[in-house]
Amino acid sequence: MSTTIKPVNQKAWFLILPVLVCVAFSAILPLMTVVNYSVQDIISPERRVFVGTEWFAAIMRDEELHGALLRQLTFSFSVLMVELPLGILLALAMPAQGWKSSAVLVIVSLSLLIPWNVVGTIWQIFGRTDIGLMGAALQGLGIEYSYTGNATHAWLTVLLMDVWHWTPLVGLLGYAGLRSIPDAYYQAASIDGASKLAVFWYVQLPKMRGVLMIAVLLRFMDSFMIYTEPFVLTGGGPGNSTTFLSQFLTLKAVGQFDVGPAAAFSLIYFLIILLLSFILYNWMQRVGTQEKGGAHG
């Protein structure tokens, strides 16, 4: 015999109706429009031809897209390679308690509070060889530094800017992870005669596994969507050496008004992000249950 759960409250549906309307207006309808664009060739406002998956096929074959995708993946990967170890070191160095801990937390988080286009502007000026501190210093050391002319310099500057901007996030997550380790683990390790490195490798790092995984996925997703900072700093140049995926897409859609292929790729982009979110969600769920079981020893 199955149990029928009496519906708790039908009135609840009416209460969320306004929100449903807003979401439909701002998200669902535009999304449907994009889908519409991705399967049509809009030659002129009056003439629209249904082309099915042609745009999808075309965009997947686009050489420029492959280039942008490759650049993007390289960038995201480099970001992780640098920010993760640096973030962990930052977390380890931060004081655990007292007024010092609050002060350091505030100072460290400052770069996270800056609007992203301002971050781009800061580094743009910082890197100028005439009025920028870094630019001038590098020039003074004899390096022919130019982020507008030299592709490698541009890449490194964008990378450095992202590290400066976002490492504190990894640091804060790592700090939270470290705080949750009970004292007894450190005491036991000390009694076992473990060196500081052994304590890091066998106690701290394993216990931070959960938060670090979240940090990895957050940074990967964020860097995969990066737009504002490189756009303000280099505009995508020199050439297209710092044109990452989202900028490429915007250029295609808004700049060239190639709506069809742009729409097609933005859907693919959406699906990639959706897949990554799904992975992140499942990871967090698993980490959550692991920690619950681990807390009881």
Binding site: A184, I191, G193, S195, Y202, V203, G297
Partner: protein, 358 residues
């Protein structure tokens, strides 16, 4: 194996003026080499503080700690070479059981062959030989605690093993097994073991000598039998035994004890100091007697509980209550019945100002 001597006090602040400023009131205590000791008391009595001072995780605000005559007051736990088992199992998640046990020896650069041999020995003692290659993180709580213990035992020169309420997260039916294992290990290896707990069964079954503590004071040190038969303080009488000792207030005269309105004659061999005293008798020694027996009180039954192996009878007299442990055939009593319970026995103790006087 080491002999630990304590001569210290520990205060919360800088200038302790009264007793409540102290976590541990000034004390002197010796733990003999190879002995099994328990620090028993309610929460906040200072037992964990004392353990942490012995292990080196905490330095006392005044006084010293000696290991085999050498002062170690400021030495780290590592330097004292002690082992500690905590309330919840502390293991290295990424390692197998064998690697966990080998860790302390590897940190000392002991040669691999020796490490393997020692790990096998300890695993045998812990009855975990078959699990050496399993990931430690996947084991049950009691097995993880065994690993924690094993990591302490694996060092051949460990001075003492300190336990901080180690059975807290263990299931009741596994507690029996783990307790036996710890006691067996003590018997086989003859290590100095000090066990902190608030559970008297754990303390009394494990230790040769139990230190009963309350509010920063060590109230009595003795064997289980001594603490049970002659508690030196009403707190010990109350804390040890389940349920604890019965206390009846009355006034002592030359050869009788008046519990208003009944005057109990004292046996000739016992003398009491005059004045208001507390009579203490354990429920195990209160017996059912015929009406009018000297040394017995007429009481009215308030509750009868069948506790499976015996029956607990609660009765009251002139506003004071007494619990008596009766064999199972006493289950026929019910509330309101009149019974005579003998409270003056050879096991009865008398207390004045909470301290034992007779």
């Amino acid at each position: 194996m080491a002999r630990i001597e304590l001569d210290l006090a520990h205060a919360y602040g800088r200038n302790p003026k009264q007793d409540s400023d102290y976590a541990l009131l000034p004390l002197r205590m010796t733990f003999e080499d190879g002995g099994a000791y328990a620090l028993l008391g309610p929460s906040g009595c200072g037992k964990t503080t004392m353990l942490n001072i012995m292990s080196g995780l905490l330095a006392p605000s005044q006084g010293s700690v000696y290991f085999d005559g050498v002062e170690v007051t400021r030495a780290s736990p590592q330097a004292r070479n002690i082992a500690q088992v905590f309330q919840f199992p502390v293991i290295y998640d990424t390692m197998t059981v064998a690697e966990n046990l080998a860790f302390p020896l590897r940190n000392r650069q002991v040669p691999k062959a020796q490490v393997d041999r020692r790990v096998a020995e300890i695993a045998e003692i812990l009855e975990m030989s078959g699990q050496l290659n399993q990931r430690a993180a996947n084991l049950a709580a009691d097995e993880k605690q065994k690993i924690s213990l094993g990591r302490g035992l694996v060092r051949p020169d460990v001075t003492a093993v300190l336990f901080d309420e180690p059975l807290t997260v263990i299931d009741p039916h596994l507690k029996w097994q783990l307790r036996r294992k710890i006691k067996q290990i003590h018997h086989d290896l003859k290590l100095t073991m000090i066990y902190v707990t608030h559970d008297q069964v754990e303390a009394l079954t494990f230790a040769d000598q139990v230190v009963v503590m309350t509010r920063g004071r060590a109230v009595q040190v003795g064997t289980a039998a001594e603490l049970f038969e002659r508690p030196g303080h009403t707190f010990v009488g109350h804390f040890i035994g389940s349920p604890g000792m019965n206390f009846l207030t009355g006034v002592a005269a030359r050869n009788s004890f008046l519990i208003d309105p009944v005057d109990l004659p004292m046996p000739p061999s016992r003398t009491l100091p005059p004045g208001e005293l507390k009579l203490g008798v354990r429920p195990e020694y209160v017996s059912l007697v015929a009406p009018g027996t000297p040394g017995a009180l007429p009481m009215s039954v308030t509750q009868v509980q069948d506790v499976g192996t015996h029956v607990m009878l609660c009765a009251s007299f002139a506003g004071q209550s007494v619990k008596a442990r009766m064999p199972s055939d006493a289950a026929h009593f019910s509330k309101g019945d009149n019974v005579w319970l003998q409270v003056m026995t050879e096991h009865t103790c008398f207390y004045q100002n909470e301290e034992i006087v007779a």
